[in-house]
Every structure is written in structure tokens, then in C-alpha cells.
């Protein structure tokens, strides 16, 4: 009868689980609220997300993990898998569903990748759960007529907004990059992108503005992020003799290799990259010598060194707590944590809808480190600062606030 043993054991297990489940309270602890984040915690985006998670933890720790009458619990979820080395649709869906099904979860901080947000937004929307992204920049997630047809409404099956974000979107950063290039006297530009939602989006916005400004776009090409080197491509670009190469992409999508192969091919023009390359890992993976004095980086917000007042306090506090300088996005993690706590405090009840409403109603928020700002009707923050930076001596150095 040994064949029947395994299924019988399964039935016994089922019975035991039924008893365990029956004995558990269904709605969790009424005095406990859970905040979760869903970010790619494995793979090459880890350095950036580490700093965001640290920012969130810092915000919660400063409030002693309490908001109003509630105890706050934080869980750091991963939407990447080791096998893929980056976020996957499956992991992000699983996280979103896990949040929806856990009655204690009242705020979902994430995602890191705009592509991932597209997947979890409709799921969380149906549950009326607050989704607050520190760093998504694809305009279509919130702004009508700025992204694909149907965006952002396809992400809101209930018709209501449940998604808000803190960082200025690419429709500011991309064009301001072009304006900056124009100010530097660039006449001819070659544009590369990584064919991802973020990279391709920002590259297209950059090109659009170049055309408005009369900068000649010599070509636009998408790279294969699994390729190991881009020497033939660089030879092509060298033949076109541009003043600037713009790469819409991230450190993980071979930003470093692009910089390296440019130098190797004897292409001595400058390189401009967007905020996803604004991290130490970018310099490490490209080799500082390949970037110094020739790589320009745009970034939504002020870099840590330029912050004053509460921003400076945040940078000092972070350094004290974690023993190192915050990466650029840490402050958005911190701000997201603060906003979530404030929304819970204002709502005063453990109810998803109430907390969501309280969050979107936030105006002139000044308890964080970013200054004073509000959410607009799409869920975007009213912050509009985009800065230009250059890599010098192997470090990011602030140049100017763009568009001023």
C-alpha cells in the first residue's frame, strides 16, 4: 500500500493546515499596520535599492515605528529573482497579490522599475491599496497623453487614483537633458537606449526636445543588454562624428560598457546619461578613467551634497546611522516612508481607502527632506527640480539646476 501513503499524508497535512488556519484570527492585529516595499533586491540594481530601503527604515525608525495609534511593521520584499538577475513580472505580481491578501498591509512602497509598476498597479488599484513609488519615472504611469495610448487609465480599473510618486518624471528630465546639451553648445548628438520602458522612454523624450532646439540627431539605436561589447556600434558612431552621445538606460543595462567602448573606439566626445546611472556602481563598472570630465548625468532632485536644512539633516543622519553617504535615491525612500506614516496618522483608522484618501490629499508636505510639496490630481509630486552633474575625479559633482 506504499503507493497510497504520500497522498494520504497530503490529506492529513491538509487537515492540520485547516485547523491551524481556523485557529488564526482572520484580520490580524487591529493595532498593527504593515508597510511593505517591493524593489529588486537581488541582481545588479541592489546597490540602489539598498539605499532606498535604508531611507525607508530611517524614516520609520525616526518615528519609533509608530503612526497615530498604530504599531508599524515594515517588510522588504524582492521583485527580482536570482535567476533573472533583475525584476520579473511574476515576482512583482506575487508581491502585489501578497500585499492585497494581507489585511495588515496598508501601504505598498514601490516599484523601482516603471515596467514593474505597470503590472502591480491594476492589482493594487482593485484593492484600493495605496501605492507610493519613490523612483518610477515613466510619465505614462500618471500623466494622461504622455505615455502609451490608454495610459494611465488602463492601470486604474476602478477609475480611482491609488498610485502616487515622489520623483520628477522623465518628461521633465529627458527634455531638460537636451536643453543642457544645447547650452553646452552641442550641435550633433547620437542617441542610444536599452530598449526598456525607462531607457527608451527617456531617450525618445530627449530626441523630441533636441529636434525642437535644432540639435541634429544623427541616429538612434537600441542596444541588446545581454551583449558583451559594443565596439562595432562605436565604430559606426565614430564615423558620424557627434558632439555628444546620449544613453537612455541604466547601470544594469550596460551603461558602463558603453562608456568603456566609446573610449576604446577612440570616440572622444562626451556622454550624457539619465538618473538611473547616478550611482557609485556606475562609476565602478565603467572605470573612473573612462568617465572623468566627459560624462554628464541628469538627476531628478538635488544631489545629497547640495541639500540644505532638513535635507542636510537627512544626509547627516543617514551617514550616522548606516556609516556611509546616501546614494542619490535614498532621500526618496526616506520621503516615501515619511509620507506613508503621515497618511496613516491623518487617516487615524486601519482602513485602506481612508489611508489612500489621506495620502492623496497631502498638501504642502514639509516633514520630509525634499522641501515643501503637494500631490497633484494625477498623484505626481509638485517637485520639479532636475539637476545636471558631471563625473570628475571618480565622483559625481553638481554642476547646476537645469532649466533655470
Amino acid at each position: 500500500m506504499s503507493r497510497f501513503l504520500p497522498p494520504i499524508l497530503l490529506f492529513v497535512l491538509l487537515g492540520v493546515l485547516t485547523l491551524v488556519g481556523w485557529a488564526r484570527p482572520a484580520d490580524g492585529d487591529p493595532a498593527r499596520i504593515k508597510i511593505v516595499s517591493s524593489l529588486p533586491r537581488t541582481g545588479s540594481a541592489k546597490a540602489q535599492t539598498d539605499t532606498i530601503v535604508n531611507g525607508i527604515k530611517m524614516a520609520l525608525a525616526e518615528a519609533d515605528y509608530r503612526a497615530g495609534d498604530f504599531d508599524i511593521v515594515y517588510a522588504d520584499w524582492d521583485d527580482a529573482t536570482a535567476g533573472a538577475g533583475q525584476w520579473t513580472a511574476e515576482a512583482e505580481t506575487a508581491n502585489a497579490n501578497r500585499a492585497v491578501n494581507d489585511p495588515d498591509v496598508m501601504a505598498y512602497l514601490g516599484t523601482y522599475n516603471s515596467g514593474a509598476a505597470k503590472i502591480s498597479m491594476p492589482i493594487l488599484n482593485k484593492a484600493g491599496l495605496l501605492m507610493l513609488s519613490p523612483v518610477n519615472t515613466w510619465p505614462g504611469l500618471t500623466k494622461p497623453a504622455m505615455g502609451d495610448p490608454g495610459e494611465p487609465y488602463i492601470y486604474r480599473p476602478t477609475g480611482k487614483v491609488n498610485y502616487a510618486r515622489l520623483v520628477p518624471t522623465d518628461d521633465l528630465q529627458g527634455p531638460l537633458g537636451a536643453v543642457w546639451a544645447d547650452e553646452m553648445g552641442v550641435k550633433r548628438v547620437y542617441v542610444l537606449d536599452d530598449n526598456e520602458v525607462y531607457g527608451k522612454g527617456i531617450a525618445n523624450l530627449f530626441i523630441e526636445e533636441c529636434q525642437n532646439l535644432g540639435i541634429e540627431v544623427l541616429g538612434h539605436e537600441s542596444i541588446d543588454v545581454k551583449a558583451q561589447e559594443f565596439k562595432p556600434l562605436m565604430a559606426t558612431i565614430k564615423g558620424l562624428n557627434p558632439d555628444l552621445v546620449y544613453f537612455g538606460g541604466t547601470t544594469q543595462s550596460k551603461g558602463g560598457q558603453i562608456a568603456k567602448d566609446m573610449v576604446a573606439a577612440g570616440l572622444d566626445c562626451n556622454l550624457m546619461v539619465p538618473d538611473a546611472c547616478y550611482e557609485e556602481v556606475f562609476i565602478e563598472s565603467a572605470g573612473a578613467d573612462n568617465l572623468n570630465d566627459r560624462c554628464y548625468v541628469t538627476f531628478g532632485g538635488l544631489p545629497p551634497e547640495q541639500l540644505t536644512g532638513p535635507g542636510k539633516q537627512f544626509v547627516d543622519g543617514y551617514r550616522q546611522r548606516f556609516g556611509k553617504k546616501p546614494e542619490a535615491y535614498a532621500i526618496y525612500g526616506y520621503e516615501a516612508g515619511k509620507v506613508a506614516l503621515e497618511a496613516i496618522r491623518r487617516a487615524g483608522v486601519k482602513d485602506r481607502q481612508a489611508i489612500l484618501d489621506a495620502c492623496l490629499a497631502i498638501e504642502d508636505f514639509d516633514q520630509g527632506a525634499l522641501g515643501t510639496w503637494s500631490f497633484d490630481e494625477n498623484g505626481d509630486s509638485t517637485l520639479r527640480t532636475v539637476t545636471g552633474n558631471i563625473i570628475r575625479d571618480g565622483r559625481f559633482q553638481f554642476v547646476k539646476v537645469l532649466g533655470q
Binding site: 537581488t42 541582481g43 545588479s44 541592489k46 546597490a47 536570482a82 538577475g85 530598449n195 541616429g219 539605436e221 537600441s222 542596444i223 541588446d224 545581454k226 551583449a227 558583451q228 561589447e229 559594443f230 565596439k231 562595432p232 556600434l233 565604430a235 559606426t236 564615423g239 547601470t251 544594469q252 550596460k254 558602463g256 560598457q257 568603456k260 573610449v263 576604446a264 573606439a265 577612440g266 556602481v281 565602478e284 563598472s285 565603467a286 572605470g287 578613467d289 573612462n290
Partner: protein, 321 residues
């Protein structure tokens, strides 16, 4: 995307031929690297008919060893020019030795017990080993791409202002890979061990009956394959300047493709396959579009196999019945 009409319009001009030559040079240099990795693939396949998916990962570990040696043991970033070349020479001894040891151990621990198993079983083991080694690479170097310091001069051999570029770095690749390939061919064609390898590849049982120590031949094959991967790892690191735990996968895939393209089990075939892939990538990027290059490589592969089912240089043998 550089379009075809443009291509035709340019066909007469000197610039066209200049870029064309440039793509060819890049393609051949990269192809030489693919070929070096492909050799290890093809030799192992020739002997035990195993697609050794772990081969790319051995290559990757070799690159990490090279990086560690360069940064922490030899301190090549501070060395004098002479010291640098001695250092590279040493790397070319130590890393291949290391990779050979890994490859032989894998064979001994994992594949050897499976010699009599169904044909596809070792394939799963190979995939398993590849995951394990990839994880070792992940723990060794982390998830992000790591920069490999740039030692070799990028001075253009054709003159600093020449439009066509062929640097010391490119020359280094050729100067190291070509002798290795020639040496390997001579080894297989002329030595006693080479003869034993060819005999084993043809028919292991008959070879054994002729008094050939088949297990030793297999061991030597794995050692040679590993050493070639190690040499490729050193050159690759010096040439491409990036090391990452995922590099074995992509390069392994291309090397495998190169091996099959040339006729799997065939040594000159692997070299030819590597060069074809290098050229396809480079011309593909130049004339079709960068984002289509990888697809193009596989389209060429399928097309060639449809017309030459045993690869470019593969013997048209009938399957053993």
C-alpha cells in the same frame, strides 16, 4: 538603423570601405575570442558527446581569478611596462591552469559517474554545474558588472590620426589566440595523445580495445578545454575590460553556437565558426542595426544548418546505427 539604400549609395566611396574594414577587424578580433572558448566546447563534445553548458562558467571563473590576481596579488595597476607584460604572461599560465583543474574536477566529480547513463542525464548535470559555478561567481564578484583595469595601450598601430583603427590591444588578441590555436591543432594532429583523442572521438569502445586509456584521454580533453577557456578569460578581460558573473552564459552560448556552426567536434570548424559569428555580429551591428545583431547570428546559424546539416566543416557522416 543604417538602412540598405544608404549602404548602396555609399558603396563606391572610400569611407564605405574604411568602415567596412573596421567592422571586419573588430569582427575578427571578437571572433578569435569566441573561437577560443568554442574550442573547449567542441573538444569535449567530440570525445563524450556532451554539450558542456558549464564551459562558459569555467571561463567566467577564470576571468574573476584574473581580476583578483591583477588587483590584489600582482598589483598590476602599479607595475612598470616590463612588469606588466611579465604579469600578463603569468596570468596566461596561472588562469588556464586554474580553469583546467576546475574543468577536470567537474568531469571527475559529476560527469564521470554518468558515462553509462541515458544520454540526456549529463546535460542536466551540466546545467546544474553551470548554476553552481555562476553562484560562485556571484559570491566572488557581486551582482554588478566589475571593471577590469585597462593596461594594454590603445595606441593605434596604423597611426594616431588614421581613420581605421587597429590598436595594440587588438594586436594582443591576435598574437595570443593564433599561436594557441596552431599549437592545439599540432597537438591533436601530431602527438600520441592527440591521436588517442581522435581515436576516442571516433569510437571509444574500439579505442579502448586498442589499448587506449580512454578515461585519461577524456581527462586530458577536459584539461585542455579548461585551459583554453582560461586563456580566453585572460584575453577577454584585458580586451573587453568587464567581468560579471553572467558573462559565462552569454559567451558560452555564442561559443556553443560557433562550435555547432563549424561542425561540432571539429577543431578548425570551431575556429571558423567563431570567426563567422564575430563577423556576423560586427557587420550586423553596422549594416542591419545593433538590436538585431544577436538575432542575426542565430538566423545565420539556422540557415547554414539547413543547407549544411553537419555544420560548415563537419563530416557528412551517417549517424551510427
Amino acid at each position: 538603423m543604417t538602412s540598405f539604400p544608404l549602404l548602396v549609395a555609399q558603396a563606391e566611396s572610400a569611407e564605405f570601405w574604411q568602415t567596412f574594414l573596421q567592422y571586419a577587424l573588430i569582427g575578427l578580433t571578437n571572433g578569435a575570442l569566441f573561437a577560443l572558448i568554442a574550442l573547449g566546447y567542441t573538444m569535449v563534445y567530440g570525445i563524450i558527446e556532451l554539450i558542456n553548458f558549464a564551459h562558459g562558467e569555467v571561463f567566467m571563473l577564470g576571468a574573476f581569478l584574473a581580476l583578483t590576481l591583477v588587483l590584489h596579488v600582482m598589483k598590476l595597476d602599479e607595475a612598470t611596462p616590463v612588469g606588466l607584460w611579465v604579469g600578463i604572461g603569468l596570468l596566461l599560465l596561472i588562469v588556464p591552469l586554474f580553469c583546467a583543474v576546475i574543468n577536470v574536477s567537474i568531469d571527475w566529480l559529476v560527469y564521470k559517474p554518468l558515462r553509462q547513463a541515458p544520454k540526456l542525464a549529463p546535460l542536466v548535470s551540466a546545467i546544474g554545474v553551470s548554476f553552481v559555478l555562476m553562484n560562485v561567481g556571484l559570491l566572488w564578484g557581486g551582482a554588478a558588472d566589475v571593471h577590469f583595469p585597462d593596461f594594454v595601450s590603445r595606441h593605434n598601430l596604423l597611426g594616431e590620426d588614421a581613420a581605421l583603427s587597429f590598436t595594440y590591444k587588438d594586436l594582443m588578441v591576435v598574437l595570443i589566440t593564433v599561436p594557441i590555436m596552431i599549437a592545439l591543432t599540432l597537438f591533436v594532429q601530431t602527438t600520441r595523445m592527440g591521436k588517442a583523442m581522435r581515436a576516442t572521438a571516433q569510437d571509444p569502445v574500439a579505442a579502448q580495445l586498442m589499448g587506449i586509456h580512454v578515461d585519461r584521454v577524456i581527462g586530458v580533453t577536459f584539461a585542455l578545454g579548461g585551459a583554453l577557456a582560461g586563456a580566453a578569460a585572460v584575453i577577454y578581460s584585458l580586451y573587453i575590460n568587464t567581468v560579471s558573473y553572467q558573462m559565462g552564459f552569454t559567451n558560452g552560448l555564442y561559443a556553443f553556437t560557433a562550435a555547432v556552426l563549424g561542425g561540432i567536434g571539429n577543431i578548425p570548424g570551431a575556429v571558423l565558426g567563431g570567426l563567422v559569428i564575430g563577423l556576423a555580429r560586427s557587420f550586423g551591428s553596422g549594416y542591419v542595426g545593433e538590436r538585431w545583431t544577436s538575432a542575426l547570428v542565430f538566423v545565420i546559424l539556422i540557415a547554414i544548418l539547413v543547407f549544411r546539416p553537419s555544420g560548415l566543416l563537419g563530416a557528412r557522416t551517417r549517424e551510427k546505427v
